[in-house]
């Protein structure tokens, strides 16, 4: 089941996209695509099928909050869990993300265990695992 899930990793830093993709792969989630900002992510989400989004917040063109809002107001996308993985450590940002519909929030730098735990927890809550 886990291997069939498709992830979209959104971050403007290619290093971080590679790290997150590799960690997902090590956790058994081998199907992952990536996007460098919210605009590119939305295009990919609307053009294909994804089960999970892992998104940064501070990005050019469209940031993670804007992407989250767009996903949650789109009837076809709003069911997709969005996990924010970000350097934004302000409490108000964390609360805003949760109120905007984020399924989880991870602050950078993070560990492999943290990402794996959050992804598994969110998937279980969503009935995807």
């Amino acid at each position: 089941m886990a291997n069939e899930l498709r992830f979209l990793v959104v971050d403007d830093f290619s290093t971080m996209r590679r790290i997150v993709r590799n960690l997902l792969k090590e956790s058994g989630y081998t199907e992952a695509d990536e996007a460098e900002d919210g605009v590119a992510a939305l295009q990919k989400l609307r053009a294909s099928t994804f089960d999970f989004v892992v998104s940064d917040i501070n990005m050019p063109n469209m940031n993670g909050f804007q992407l989250l809002t767009e996903i949650k107001k789109d009837e076809k996308l709003k069911h997709i869990p969005v996990l924010m993985v970000t350097a934004e450590a302000r409490k108000e940002d964390i609360v805003l993300a949760a109120q905007s519909g984020a399924a989880g929030y991870i602050v950078k730098p993070f560990t492999k265990a943290t990402l794996e735990d959050k992804v598994n927890l969110i998937l279980a809550k969503a009935g995807l695992k």
Binding site: M16, N58, N63, A87, E92, V95, A98, P109
Partner: protein, 218 residues
């Protein structure tokens, strides 16, 4: 040349022109003050004064993160190399035992022990490789902080160029062109928390994030 000049010419000359220098500095200071006021830059200068220590702490943050990442990578490489050397040595030892007496090597459990050893070592090497990969996350965090410092420097440069243009003598031969517009810094997102100590508005780690969200019912 007399004795006084040869002993300390600078102080002698300084004593002679001191009132003029003070007067000149005073006039320049007044002129700068008036210019800044005229240009409406006094608030911005005050802003720079506040931002420069922040830039300093951001640069310290970058130095700390890159240093920690390098240290982490080197430590993990050392450990992985030790594991690798161990497996290489064990492979040679078991190879020699098998060549000498294959049946005894299996019967006495040398081969099985070796396979277990290899499995454990490769698991540990894999962990080291994962940690080496994770150490590269400094690139993202420092990149965001560097962008903020560069924005600050560009902003100060732009304002100083404007000041030069507007205070240049009217008969200046070379006319400075207007500076290129600098991309405006948008402070809506704070980026990595450089100084978390004593700041109640930011979290210091993932456990605080989880506690905050749990307290809100998420």
């Amino acid at each position: 040349m007399n004795a006084t000049q040869s002993n300390n010419p600078a102080s002698a000359a300084g004593a002679a022109v001191s009132p003029d220098i003070h007067q000149s500095i005073g006039m320049l200071t007044r002129q700068l003050h008036d210019s800044l006021n005229g240009l409406g830059l006094t608030d911005k200068v005050k802003g720079w004064a506040g931002e420069l220590p922040d830039a300093k702490s951001r640069l310290s943050y970058i130095a700390r993160l890159t240093g920690e990442a390098a240290e982490k990578v080197l430590n993990r490489v050392d450990q992985a190399k030790a594991q690798h050397d161990h497996i290489a040595a064990e492979t040679r030892r078991i190879g020699a035992l098998i060549v000498k007496d294959p049946v005894a090597a299996v019967a006495k459990g040398h081969v099985m022990n070796f396979l277990t050893d290899v499995e454990e070592s490769t698991r540990q090497v894999d962990q080291h490789l994962t940690e080496i990969m994770m150490a590269q996350d400094f690139h993202d965090l420092t990149g965001q902080v560097i962008a903020k410092v560069v924005n600050l420097a560009a902003n100060i440069e732009e304002q100083l160029v404007q000041l030069l243009i507007q205070t240049a003598p009217p008969d200046a031969v070379v006319k400075a062109s207007a500076p290129a517009p600098v991309a405006e810094y948008q402070p809506a997102l704070a980026g990595p928390a450089v100084n978390t100590a004593g700041n109640p508005d930011v979290v210091t780690g993932q456990s605080e994030v989880d506690d905050l969200l749990a307290s809100l019912g998420f």
